[in-house]
Symmetry: D3
């Protein structure tokens, strides 16, 4: 299996209003450094799994509506607790839609799997990985 | 599959008294930067795979008896060659026990897999990953 | 010159309500990975510039009132634009006070300089460095 | 599953003469920081999956003919577009041959899988992972 | 002293045709991950040393003519051996010109010093740092 | 000022038998990832501050007698507490001797300053920096 992974980041505010989150129940924030990996079983005739330029552009497009936002105010996260895992899954779903819409170029149909990793600090990260 | 991964470290001495280890047969040591990943198939109603705080605490608890030790002196490693792989497997087993004992919180039963990575330098690391 | 540097992090929300900040004028947030370096001209009789354990504890103490907070709500930042540079200087001042109060141990008087670096993403950081 | 991963790097020139590569069609270059992971189901009687020293040596041997080269001039890449993915697969094949030739030591037969990761910048990487 | 540092990268080919470079005399290449630090003695009324957005844009502008190029073909490097140090100094000079031209915003005059670091691999880097 | 910095590492055991070290008083160990920076005011006619190859070789030569050792057994550290700071200074002195002996090549006399950084974990490091 081949994979191409590109990195970007978002800086967001949110609250996690459930007792389990202790001091993180109030309004706070995070930088999420986001790695998006696109998996393919083979390469196209140009030697590409996914074009890194296209992957970078699509990831930036997906992240833009989240960047510099208070996630508590976004309709897409209404009644949702925006943990790192939940945001990873949300970005996964958005990128899966982009793959389905062939926004990763003519070889989009060859992408069979995605892995989205969110680094929330130097000491913690979470990811969601699944077949498309 | 979701995963939450937390990082900590230990600083240990040990010897590797077998000919294959060449210059590492004598007493020397290592900092192991330890990444522990906890995998779940879904998230709980708080949006959590595993609580990062609980994961951090349990990893610290597991590492504490190893930190600042000479592994050659520890009963748990008697007659064992404490390679990076062996220590990764030992930490895996300890964390698997913690999961079984529900020390990762009420959602402990949802953890299906662990991956334990030990970085021994900027140029080498080893890991053990398996289903529980 | 010797230096000992320790790392910790905070996860905060804030707004930057000035036109120059463009999309960052609204409520958003950041993880700041914080490196605090303590400089000394020489070492004490135990071979220490600063005890890494003490440095880690004091840095954690200084960061605790900021962690998981909305900086817009904190009295210490009233009428202040909490840029990365401003927060670096604030942490510098707090650590300078800790040094003056000998909270870094009996050798605190030997610390002549501090450098506080805040990494706000994989692609940007800021620091403040000055003599005490 | 156990894995041992070692890191090295190469500095190469190449061109990517297909329209999809846009500004990268001309002669340019890259540093590839290469991580090679060797997977085994169990450990030998010395506690090893693969000897890190042997893995480091074999990886260096495989990279040497590529390092400081213009890949456009190498016979092994004739009529090949040397994308990051293609080079990852090439290094995989070379290491698979080394495993088959037992160049990883007496336990070479125990290696069941390889993962070769090429970091081309702080923001992009690609890998090829497969069973042997 | 305050500093704001931003990161970008270039992927270039070049040759180093002098005997001292041994295997690097021929055409090869590098990814240079570039950190540009802008130093100021104080902050402006918005709490800024340098605006990170402006710094990122100006660094990208300076790097663009170098990215994906064969440096041997560029007029600016005619009769120059393009070592990592030389390229660091070249980027320094370009950024110094940008500061002088007030391309870093109205506070450009407050920038007193630059440090340009080029990481050529995980194991080597070079920098040039000087007052303006 | 120019600088060229190269990275290597050592894996050592030692004890720190003074009360201030608490749990680190007994035999334990560390991986020290070592960065050695060589400063020059200008570049030679080949565009070099220091040749990275020569710097890498000399650093490896200096580290070799320490690697895989129990520092408590080494004559050079007799009656010395081998803190990270002390080892950084020791490596500085060895590299300063190498510079004085012109082991960094014909341009050795141009090196005016060294900075030796020892990373002992992902969360702590120490350095010694001084003019020659």
């Amino acid at each position: 299996m081949f994979a191409v992974e590109v990195r970007d980041h978002i800086m967001i505010a949110h609250s996690l209003p459930r007792p389990v989150f202790g001091p993180a129940q109030g309004m706070h924030g995070a930088t999420f450094v986001v790695d998006a990996a696109f998996f393919t079983r083979d390469l196209d005739e140009d030697g590409l799994g996914v074009d890194i330029g296209a992957a970078t552009t699509v990831l930036a497009d997906v992240l833009k509506p989240l960047n510099y936002q208070n996630l508590d105010d976004l309709a897409v996260f209404k009644d949702t607790v925006t943990t790192t895992e939940v945001i990873a899954k949300y970005i996964f779903d958005q990128l899966a839609d982009a793959v389905a819409a062939k926004r990763l170029g003519p070889g989009s149909h060859r992408i069979t799997r995605l892995k989205i990793t969110l680094h929330e600090s130097h000491a913690a990260r979470a990811w969601y990985e699944a077949d498309l």
